[in-house]
Amino acid sequence: MPRFKSIISSALPLAVWFVFFSCGGQAPSFECTDTLGCVHVEPGDPLKIGVLQALSGKVASLGMEQIRGFELAIDQKNGQVLGHSFLLQKEDTGCTSEGGANAVLKILADPQTIAIFGTTCSGAARTASHAMSEAGLVMISGNNSAPFLTSIGGKAAPEWHPGYFRTANNEENAGKAAAIFAFQKLGIRRVATINDTDIYTRGLTDGFRQSFEKQGGKIVLDTSINKGETVMGPVLTAVYNAGAQLLFFPLFQPEGNLILTAAGENPELRNIVLMSDGALIEDSFIQDVREKGKGMYFVGPVSPKNPAVDALSRKYLAKYTTLPANYYYLNAYDAAMLLFGAIETIAVQEADGSLHIGRNALRRALYATRDHKGVTGDLTCDEFGDCSQAAFNVLRLDDPDAGVRALQENVIFTYTPE
C-alpha cells in the first residue's frame, strides 16, 4: 500500500502539470468576424499566394517578368512576412479568358490561398477577377491595363469586380494618346485598327477610335483577328483596301509579330505607319522582328526612372543574371509590396506566431493605400482598384539592335491625362 501511494503521489503532480500546461497554456481562440471569412496560417506554415500569369506561348516573357518582380519583392522582405515564408502556386492563364477562368479555379480550390498575383493579360483577368471576387479574395496585377477591368471615364467599368487591384496604368487613355499623336503629330487622317477581340486590345482600339474620330479623323477599318491566327494576309488586304494611312494594331505576340511581318511583306503597305501597344515593348519582340520593326511606333505607359528603379534593376541583374526584358517587373514589384504591406497591416498574429488574415480586411487595406512610395512612383489605390497614375509615351523603334532599353528611351510623345 505505501508503494501504491507513492506511485500515486508521484504521478499526481505530473497529471496536474499536464492539465495545466495543456489547458492553461492555450491562448483564447480567435473568432473571425470578417464578412468574407479569414485565413488561418499555422505557425511555421507559409503564406499561400496564387500566381496567375501567362506561362506559355509568346506572352510567357511578360508573365515571367511579373513573377520575377514578385520574387524580388519577396527578397526585399527577406523571404518572410510576419515570420512566415511564401508558397506561390503558379498557374498558366495562357493569356485567354478561358485560360484565366480555369487557372483561377485551381487557385480558388485551396481555401488557404490568401491572395492572387496576376494576371498578365487583361483577357484572362476578366474571367479570373470575377471568380476571385466572388470567392472573397484580392487580386493584384502588375500588368493588366485594360480599362474594362477598373473604370472608364471615372465610372465602374463593365468588368470591374471588388477586390481587383493593379499597379499597371489604366490604359483608357493610351488609345487616346496614340490617336492624338497620330492626328496631331503625324497628321494622319485615316486609320485602320486591328484587335484580337481581347478586352485589352479592343479597349485600346476603341479608345483610339473615339479620340481619333473626335479630332476629326476617320477609322476606315476596325476589325479583329483571332488569337492564334497565323494568316494575316487577308486582314492586311483589308487594311490596304480601306486606304488607311496608319495601322493601329495593339496586339500581343505572336499576332503582333505576324502582322508586322506580313505588313512588311506586302508592298502595298510599305508606306503605312504601324503603331502597336505596350504589350510589344518587349525585348523578345524586338529580337523577333528586328529590322522589320524599325520605324514602328508603340504607345505605352511612361517608364519610371528613379534611384529605386536603378537599385531594383541591379538586384534583378544579380538574381537573374540578365537584364529585364521590359520594365513591367517594376509594376509587379510594387504590386507585391502593396500586397505584403496590406497583409502586415491587417493580420492578427497570435503569441505562437499563427496568423489570422481577414479577407475583407485585406481588401479594405488595399483600397486604403495612399501615397505608397513605390518604385514606379507614388501609389494611391482608388475605389476601382487603379493604384498608379497614368501617363503615356509614344516610342519609336529606331535601333532594333539596341534592344528594348533604347526603345524605352526613345520617347517621341508623352501624354498625361488631365
Binding site: E98, A101, L108, A109, T223, V231, P234, V235
Partner: protein, 923 residues
C-alpha cells in the same frame, strides 16, 4: 526481502505478463481494425472517384455527341437526347464529388488523402464550369446554326438573295462565288482569315457594284444592302464562333484540370489500401514477435519465481519441520540454523528462543515444585485461619442484621424496599404499613409497589396528578437516582394527607438497579401548621400596611385641613359679605357644604386608619341617600340612568352620617364604573325590612327585628364567581391601575360591620350585580336637629393670631375682626414669641397653629405661659398626632380647635375661653 514481498514479486510478474498479453492483443486488434477500415474507406473512395470520372466522361461524350448529331436529328432532339442527359450526369458528378469530399473528411485516411479536398474543390468547380460553359456553347451554337433563324441560315438566305440579284452579271457572280466559297470554307474550318478574305472580296464587289453603270440605283442599293447584311451576319458569325472556340478551349482546359485529379485520388486511395495492408502485415509480425517474447519471458519468469520460492520458502520450511520433529521427540537442545531476515528467519529465531526457554524451564522445574509445595502448605494454613475469621464475621453480621432490623422496625418513619424488576415489596416496616393504611394481613406475600400506587391518587405540590411511575420509590427505581419529594394523597375512606418521601435506588456492582428503598413520613400536620403560619403572617402584613396608611393619612390630613381651612374660612367670610338674595350666596353655601364634607371625609380617613369610633347619632338614612344620589348624578355619564325608590318612612339608624354617605357613594360609584362604557341602569332602593328570627341564618351577624335595607343594583357584566369572596378585601381590585385603589368596598364592608350591619352581594354573569346593605333601625324618637341660627358671639379683646400659613393667618384675622376683636396676626412663631415677651400684657388671647417651623405652637405656648401664666391660649391644627386632650391640659392650653374651623365654632370657642371656660374638642 520478506516472504510477502517475494510472493508479491511473483504475483506482479504474472500480472505483468497478463497485462502485456492483453495489451498486445488489444493493440493488434485495434491496428487490424483500423487497417480494415482504411481499406474499406479507400475502396469506397476509389469507387466514388471512378464513378465521378466516368460520369464526367459520359457527360463530355454526350456533349460532344450533341455537336455531332444535331445537324442530322435537329437541335431539339439532340438537346433532349444528349444535352439534358449530359447536364444530369454533371449533376450526379457534382453530388458524387461532394460525397467523396465528405467521406474523406470524416474518415481516418492518411494526410495526403485528407489534403485532397483541395483537388476535389477544383474538380467540383471545374465540373460546375463545364456545366455552365457547355450550356453556353450550346446556346451559341444554336444561335449560329439553328435552322431558319440561325446566323448561318440567315447568311445563306442573304447569299441566295444576292446570287439572285447578281444573276446574269457574270463578273459580279464570279466575285460572289469567290466570296461564297471563302464563306463555305470558313464554315468548314472556322479560320477567320477565310472570312476576312470573303470580306475583302465583298469589298471589291461592293466597289464594283457602286460604280457599275449597268445597274440601276435600286438594284445597286439592293445589292449593296445585301452585301452589308452579309458582312454584318458574317461579323456576328465570327464573334459567335470566337466565343464558341473560347468555350471549347475552356472545356479542353477543364478536362486537363480534371483528369489528373481523379487519377491522383485513385492513386492515393490505392496507396491507402496498400498502406493498410502493410500495416496489417506489420501488426501480424509484431504481434507474433510480442507473443513469442512474452511467452519466453513468461517461462523464464516462472522458472525464476519457482526457484526463488523453492530456495527461500519451501526448503526452509522443510528444514524447520525436521527440527520441530526432533524437538517433539524430546531433543530439547536442537537448534534451527537460519539467519535470514524474512519471516522464516524470524520463525527460526523464535523457535530457537522458545526451545531454549523450554529447556531452561524444565531444568528449573523441580526446584520450583518444591518451593511451590512449601508455599501451598503455608497458604493452606492461612486459608484455615481465614475460614475461622469468616465464621466469626458471619456471626457479627447476623448480629448487625438483627440490630438493623430492630432499627428499621422501630423507626418513626415508614421504610420500604421494593424489587426493581417486579416491584415486589421485599421489606416494609410497621410504620410504613400504618402510613399506607395497611397491615401484614392485608398485604399478604404479594405486596407490589407498582400496583399499590394505583389504589389512591397522588398530587404534586402544583396539583398535578402523579403517574404510578412518578412516586419517589418508583421514580428512584426508574431513574436510577435518589428522589426526594412532597406530595399529597387522596384515598377513599381516609383523610387527605401530605407525604414526604426520600427514595434511592439499590445498585449492584454492575450498575444495575436491583431495588428501591424509600423512607416516608406523614407531614400533614406540619403542612397545616405552615399554612396557618402563612395566614398569620399575611394578617400581620395587613396590620403593618394599615398602620402605614394611618401614618400617611395623618400626614395628608394636616395639609389637607389647612387648605380646607382657607376654603371654608374665606367662603364663610364671603357668605357674610353677600346679601341674602344674591344668587352667589347659594353657590357659596354649596362650597361650604362641600368643604365641610371634605373635612368630614378627612376625619373618616383618620378614623379608619386609627380604627377609632366616630361619632354616631340617630340619622334619617333616606335624606343621606337622596343627597348622595344628587351628588352622584353630576359625576356619572348620562348613559347611566338612575332609578331610585326611597322610602322616607323606613326609619332611623344610629350612624355616622358621613360614613353612611360614604357607603352609598362607594356602592353607587362602583356600579356606575362597571356601566361606564356601555351605559345601563343604576337602581337604588331604600326600604324597611323585618328580620325573622327563624330566618336569621340567611343574615349572619344581624339580630332579629326591623332593619333598613339599602339596595344598589347595576346592569353591568356581573362579578366573576371566583373572586366574589375577595371583593371586600382591602386593596382587591379588578380595575386598571389608577382607576381604583381597591379600598372602596373594603371601606363599605368595614363601615357596615361597625354599624352592626350586613352587606350581601348577588351577581349574574352578563346581567349585573346587586348589593344589599342591612342596618338595624333604632326605635328612639328621632330628634331632628334643625339648624338653629343664633347670632355669633363677639368681643373686643386683643387677640394674637399666629399661623405660618399667611392665608390662614389673614383669614382668621378677618374673621375675628368681623366678630369685633382686635387682632394682631403673625406668620412667624419666633416673632410672635418675641412680641409677646416684649408686650406680655398687650394680648388677651393667643390663637396659634401647632405645626410651624423653628418653634411649634405647643413650644411657643409653653414659653408664653412661662412669661404670663394665665394667658389663654387656643391651639389650632389641621392634624397632629402629638397632640391630644391630656397633653393640652398639661401644657395649660385652654382649648383645641381642628382645622378647618367654622366661624360659629371659632366664635364660641374664643368667647368661652375668654369667659374663663375650659373647653376641649378632639376629633
Amino acid at each position: 526481502m520478506s516472504i510477502s514481498s517475494k510472493f508479491g514479486l511473483g504475483g506482479s510478474l504474472f500480472l505483468g505478463l497478463i497485462v502485456m498479453v492483453a495489451a498486445t492483443g488489444y493493440w493488434s486488434l485495434q491496428s487490424v481494425r483500423k487497417a480494415e477500415s482504411a481499406i474499406l474507406i479507400s475502396s469506397e473512395i476509389q469507387r466514388l472517384v471512378l464513378d465521378m470520372d466516368r460520369g464526367m466522361e459520359k457527360s463530355r461524350r454526350l456533349y460532344n455527341a450533341f455537336f455531332l448529331h444535331y445537324p442530322m436529328i435537329g437541335f431539339e432532339a439532340a438537346h433532349r437526347q444528349y444535352v439534358q442527359p449530359s447536364i444530369r450526369q454533371i449533376a450526379k458528378v457534382i453530388g458524387t464529388s461532394q460525397l467523396l469530399k465528405r467521406q474523406i473528411k470524416l474518415s481516418s485516411v492518411g494526410g495526403a488523402l485528407q489534403k485532397s479536398h483541395i483537388d476535389l474543390n477544383l474538380y467540383l468547380s471545374s465540373a460546375r464550369r463545364f456545366a455552365q460553359t457547355s450550356i453556353e456553347s450550346i446556346e451559341l451554337e444554336t444561335e449560329l446554326s439553328a435552322p431558319k433563324r440561325g446566323l448561318y441560315a440567315q447568311l445563306m438566305r442573304h447569299l441566295q438573295a444576292l446570287e439572285t440579284e447578281l444573276s446574269g452579271q457574270g463578273h459580279f457572280l464570279n466575285l460572289y462565288h469567290e466570296m461564297k466559297s471563302y464563306i463555305q470554307e470558313y464554315r468548314i474550318i472556322h479560320r477567320r482569315f477565310l472570312m476576312q478574305s470573303a470580306f475583302n472580296v465583298s469589298f471589291t464587289l461592293y466597289r464594283q457594284i457602286e460604280t457599275a453603270p449597268i445597274l440601276g440605283v435600286q438594284d445597286r442599293e439592293k445589292i449593296t444592302g445585301l452585301l452589308d447584311q452579309i458582312i454584318d451576319i458574317s461579323e456576328k458569325i465570327l464573334e459567335t464562333d470566337g466565343q464558341i472556340t473560347s468555350i471549347f478551349n475552356d472545356i479542353s482546359l477543364q478536362e486537363k484540370t480534371e483528369a489528373p485529379i481523379s487519377g491522383s485520388l485513385v492513386q492515393l486511395a490505392a496507396e491507402e489500401m496498400q498502406q493498410a495492408r502493410r500495416k496489417i502485415a506489420y501488426t501480424h509480425k509484431v504481434t507474433v514477435i510480442l507473443i513469442a517474447g512474452i511467452a519466453l519471458f513468461g517461462v523464464l519468469a516462472a522458472l525464476g519465481i519457482w526457484k526463488l520460492l523453492n530456495d527461500n520458502i519451501t526448503k526452509k520450511i522443510i528444514r524447520l519441520t525436521k527440527t520441530a520433529k526432533e524437538f517433539r521427540k524430546g531433543n530439547l537442545g536442537v537448534c534451527f540454523e537460519e539467519e535470514g531476515k524474512d519471516e522464516i528467519g524470524q520463525l527460526a529465531v523464535t523457535f530457537n528462543i522458545m526451545a531454549a526457554r523450554i529447556q531452561a524451564f524444565v531444568d528449573g522445574l523441580e526446584s520450583k515444585v518444591e518451593i511451590r509445595t512449601n508455599e501451598l502448605k503455608s497458604a493452606n494454613n492461612k486459608l484455615l485461619r481465614e475460614v475461622e475469621d469468616r465464621i466469626k464475621a458471619q456471626a457479627n453480621l447476623e448480629e448487625t442484621q438483627a440490630i438493623l432490623q430492630a432499627a428499621l422496625d422501630n423507626s418513626q418513619a415508614g421504610i420500604l424496599i421494593a424489587e426493581a424488576r417486579t416491584g415486589k415489596v421485599q421489606y416494609i416496616n410497621e410504620v410504613g404499613l400504618f402510613l399506607m393504611g395497611e397491615s401484614k394481613q392485608t398485604i399478604g406475600d404479594s405486596f407490589n409497589i407498582f400496583t399499590y400506587v394505583r389504589k389512591f391518587q397522588g398530587y404534586d405540590l402544583d396539583g398535578n396528578l402523579l403517574e404510578p411511575g412518578g412516586y419517589p420509590v418508583t421514580r428512584a427505581i426508574r431513574e436510577g437516582k435518589p428522589v426526594s419529594m412532597e406530595y399529597w394523597v387522596k384515598q377513599s375512606g381516609r383523610e387527605d394527607r401530605f407525604m414526604w418521601a426520600n427514595a434511592a435506588p439499590i445498585i449492584n456492582t454492575k450498575g444495575e438497579v436491583l431495588a428501591g428503598i424509600s423512607i416516608f413520613l406523614d407531614i400533614t400536620k406540619r403542612k397545616m401548621a405552615e399554612k396557618e403560619k402563612e395566614t398569620l403572617e399575611s394578617q400581620l402584613r395587613q396590620v403593618y400596611k394599615m398602620e402605614a396608611i394611618g401614618i400617611l393619612a395623618g400626614g395628608i390630613a394636616h395639609d389637607f385641613n389647612n387648605l380646607l381651612a382657607v376654603i371654608i374660612g374665606y367662603a364663610d367670610l364671603a357668605k357674610q359679605d353677600i346679601p341674602g338674595e344674591h344668587p352667589a350666596k347659594l353657590q357659596i353655601e354649596e362650597i361650604l357644604k362641600a368643604g365641610n364634607r371634605a373635612r368630614d371625609l378627612v376625619k373618616q380617613i383618620l378614623a379608619f386608619s386609627r380604627k377609632s369610633q366616630v361619632g354616631r347619632f340617630p340619622v334619617q338614612i333616606h335624606s343621606i341617600v337622596t343627597e348622595a344620589l344628587h351628588l352622584l348624578r353630576a359625576s356619572i355619564p348620562a348613559t347611566i340612568e338612575i332609578r331610585q325608590e326611597i322610602d322616607t318612612e323606613c326609619g332611623s339608624v344610629l350612624a355616622d352620617q358621613t360614613q353612611i354617605h360614604q357607603v352609598v357613594l362607594n356602592l353607587c360609584t362602583n356600579a356606575a364604573q362597571v356601566m361606564e362604557k356601555e351605559g345601563g341602569i343604576l337602581d337604588v332602593s331604600l326600604t324597611r325590612v323585618e328580620i325573622d328570627p327563624a330566618r336569621m341564618i340567611g343574615f349572619p351577624g344581624l339580630g332579629p327585628g326591623p332593619h333598613v335595607k339599602l339596595t344598589v343594583k347595576d346592569t353591568g357584566k356581573g362579578i366573576d364567581k371566583q373572586i366574589l369572596n375577595k371583593i371586600f378585601d382591602p386593596y382587591f381590585t379588578t380595575k386598571e391601575i389608577g382607576k381604583g385603589s381597591g379600598m372602596g368596598l373594603a371601606m363599605v364592608h368595614g363601615i357596615v360591620k361597625s354599624h352592626k350591619g350586613l352587606i350581601q352581594v348577588d351577581t349574574i354573569s352578563g346581567m349585573g350585580s346587586v348589593f344589599h346593605v342591612y342596618l338595624p333601625v333604632i326605635e328612639e324618637e328621632i330628634l331632628i336637629q334643625d339648624k338653629i341660627i343664633t347670632p355669633l358671639l363677639t368681643g373686643t379683646e386683643h387677640i394674637l393670631v399666629v399661623d405660618d400659613e399667611a392665608p390662614i393667618a389673614e383669614m382668621t384675622k378677618r374673621r375675628l375682626e368681623r366678630l369685633g376683636y382686635q387682632v394682631t396676626s403673625l406668620t412667624s412663631s419666633m416673632d410672635a414669641l418675641a412680641l409677646f415677651r416684649k408686650y406680655p400684657g398687650r394680648f388677651d388671647l393667643v390663637l396659634t397653629d401647632q405645626t410651624m417651623p423653628h418653634l411649634t405652637g405647643e413650644k411657643m405656648a409653653q414659653e408664653m405661659i412661662r412669661i404670663q401664666k394665665d394667658i389663654p391660649i387656643i391651639l389650632s391644627t389641621g392634624y397632629s398626632s402629638s397632640i391630644d386632650q391630656e397633653k393640652i391640659e398639661r401644657l395649660g392650653i385652654r382649648a383645641f380647635l381642628m382645622k378647618p374651623t367654622e366661624i360659629r365654632e371659632l366664635s364660641d370657642c374664643v368667647r368661652q375661653v375668654l369667659a374663663g371656660q375650659k373647653q376641649s374638642k378632639i376629633d
